[in-house]
């Protein structure tokens, strides 16, 4: 009989003897069930990233009676030959969604209308005009269509204006509204690599403990099919304010998010594979520029991002796409660096470089492999600017956001020289991608 004194000491062994019975017989069944269960993302929100198929699926062909196959095949053969001859002589090839492409038009907004400008001739022509107040044109990766926003009456919950999103072909045809409900001006609009869907991130109430800055809100990430109008909410994530599709196939995307009020950077496969942590969430939420506007290199192997920590923000850093090898990009002494934009050919990185925390300077250009010298390029601006590379990497298009100029600048990345485009515009610009010659 067990005595009271030794009872408590014996209890673990007694319980083990009583209840431990070897490996339960449902082990294999359990493992199989788990193999069929997807994991949730690296935070505790009830929402999760939903699998997304960015490749247009094909509808299976209806079964055809064998007797008719011969006749149909013959007809199809003749039609295909005729069609191939027609397409070969009339239709241009389309560029791949990532990498170098040819330079097309520059879509821009001016006085509530959307225009296309030719950077070579200087000519412009209207794309969408009328009473609507249109802005923010964004060219699809294949260069065939332009998405833009049109203002509607009312104010969003965050105090910004409301817009509907439209899509139009570059020849002005096929204008259609793709948003069922108006979106806030604070929303972010970009094309998915398939040039069919639009990625829209709208701010919604968040769950994080982060206080104060507006980027503590959550971001609701929707993919809107511009063909059908169908919208799919992929995820709602604290702090989400951008997604970057990873070259070369866009099947993975990278984003920043708040976890327990701290910034981190993450990647997720759109097939439902688990979220990967690229940078641990340990940057205080009030440092709202940390990981802001991170960008993949042209080959998708590296990520350029603004790095901040308790010591301050920001310097330009780079990491491998798996989150390893993070280090400051070409450290050149005290400076504020950020907003890296890699060139499509993978050779260069343009970024905002403000040495010694002095007056705002402008764009600097460095080789992406961190060799060579830093080149100060383009005008010195009193404020900040929005900039992007020409699809063929031969120029940088810069539009000052500080009101210092109503015309965008074209900067030569080789020597830093610059000139203005031939037209005035509002601030929102993009550059149409077309197939490379040959």
């Amino acid at each position: 009989m067990t005595t009271p004194r030794r009872f408590e000491g014996d209890l673990p062994a007694l319980l083990a003897d009583l209840y431990l019975a070897g490996m339960p017989d449902y082990r294999d069944d359990l493992v199989q069930r788990i193999e069929r269960t997807p994991q949730r993302p690296a935070w505790t929100l009830p929402e999760r990233w939903l699998p997304v198929e960015l490749v247009t699926s094909r509808t299976p062909a209806a079964r055809v009676p064998w007797r008719q196959i011969g006749v149909l095949a013959l007809i199809a053969l003749l039609l295909a030959a005729a069609l191939a001859a027609y397409i070969g002589s009339h239709q241009a090839r389309l560029p791949a969604p990532f990498g170098p492409a040819g330079n097309g038009f520059i879509p821009f907004a001016k006085s509530g209308d959307i225009y296309l400008g030719d950077p070579v001739s200087g000519g412009t022509h209207p794309l969408v005009t009328g009473p609507g107040d249109d802005k923010s044109p964004v060219s699809s990766p294949d260069g065939t269509r332009i998405a833009f926003n049109r203002s509607v009456p009312g104010t969003a919950a965050d105090g910004t204006a409301l817009f509907d999103t439209y899509v139009v072909n570059v020849d002005g045809s096929g204008l259609s509204r793709v948003s069922f409900t108006p979106i806030a001006d604070s929303s972010r609009l970009s094309w998915a690599p398939d040039s069919r869907r639009l990625a829209i991130i709208q701010k919604v109430a968040g769950t994080s403990g982060c206080q104060g800055p507006s980027n503590c809100l959550a971001g609701k990430f929707d993919l809107v099919d511009t063909a059908s109008g169908a919208s799919q909410t992929v995820a709602t994530v604290d702090g989400l304010d951008f997604v970057q599709f990873r070259p070369p196939d866009g099947r993975e995307l990278m984003y920043r998010a708040l976890v327990d009020g701290k910034w981190g950077m993450f990647a997720v496969g759109l097939d439902g594979s688990p979220v990967r942590t690229l940078a641990q969430p340990n940057v205080p939420g009030e440092m709202g520029l940390s990981f802001h506007a991170a960008m993949y290199s042209a080959d998708g192997q590296r990520i350029f991002y603004e790095h901040g920590d308790a010591g301050g923000c920001c310097q330009l850093w780079v990491m491998n796409a798996d989150g390893t090898g993070a280090h400051e990009f070409m450290p050149l002494g005290p400076a504020w660096d950020g907003n890296a934009v890699p060139s499509p050919d993978g050779q260069w990185v343009a970024y905002w470089h403000n040495p010694n925390d002095g007056p705002i300077h402008g764009i600097s250009i460095a080789r992406a492999d961190e060799t060579g010298r830093l080149l100060a390029a383009g005008p010195v601006l009193p404020g900040f600017g929005h900039y992007l590379w020409a699809p063929d990497s031969s120029k940088i298009l810069l539009f000052p956001n500080d009101g210092s100029s109503g015309r965008a600048f074209l900067i030569d990345p080789h020597d830093g020289s610059f000139k203005t485009v031939a037209w005035d515009s509002d601030g929102d610009l993009d550059w149409q991608r077309i197939a490379l010659p040959g």
Binding site: F7, A21, P24, R27, L30, V31, I34, Q39, P41, P274
Partner: protein, 187 residues
Amino acid sequence: MDQRGTVERARRGDHDAFASLIDVHLARLDAAARLILRDPELARDAVQEALIRAWRDLPGLRDPDRFDAWLHRLTVNACLDLVRRRRRRVIEVELSPIDSPAAHDVAGDLADRQMLEEALAGLSPGHRAVVALHYLLGMPLPEVAASLRIPIGTAKSRLHYALGAMRTVVTAEPESVPAAVAGRNLA
């Protein structure tokens, strides 16, 4: 590879790594669930639910070194959730009279085990959860309290009560058996 590395791999979606974690923990989790629920089928349901949830939510686990405690908590809470869902189905347990000859005639471990099982049967699932976490899964009492989301004082009180009940039965002190032990509903 150490468990931390295995947890990291599982957190990145490695099914094999998670299967090896299952192999390490499953038997003891099943034992804890059977102790709490006193029903092998319910225990199986609770453990499967807990492990599937662990796999699903593993990317959200901040500290891989906390995997054991986290898994224990998921399992015990799955058990208690199951009890709550089945609360309408009251289970009556008939205990052998504590002064029955059988309780005293069988000596040694076998008698201890039988009496211990009887004593545990007389406890509530909440009390058994404290016993399972502390004595079967080796969790320190403050962590037991945190896992069950109860104050540390409540955890101590439950453990004291459970120990008293078990000790009384096992050491054959009939007059000091708490009234609650003598045949209670378990749910």
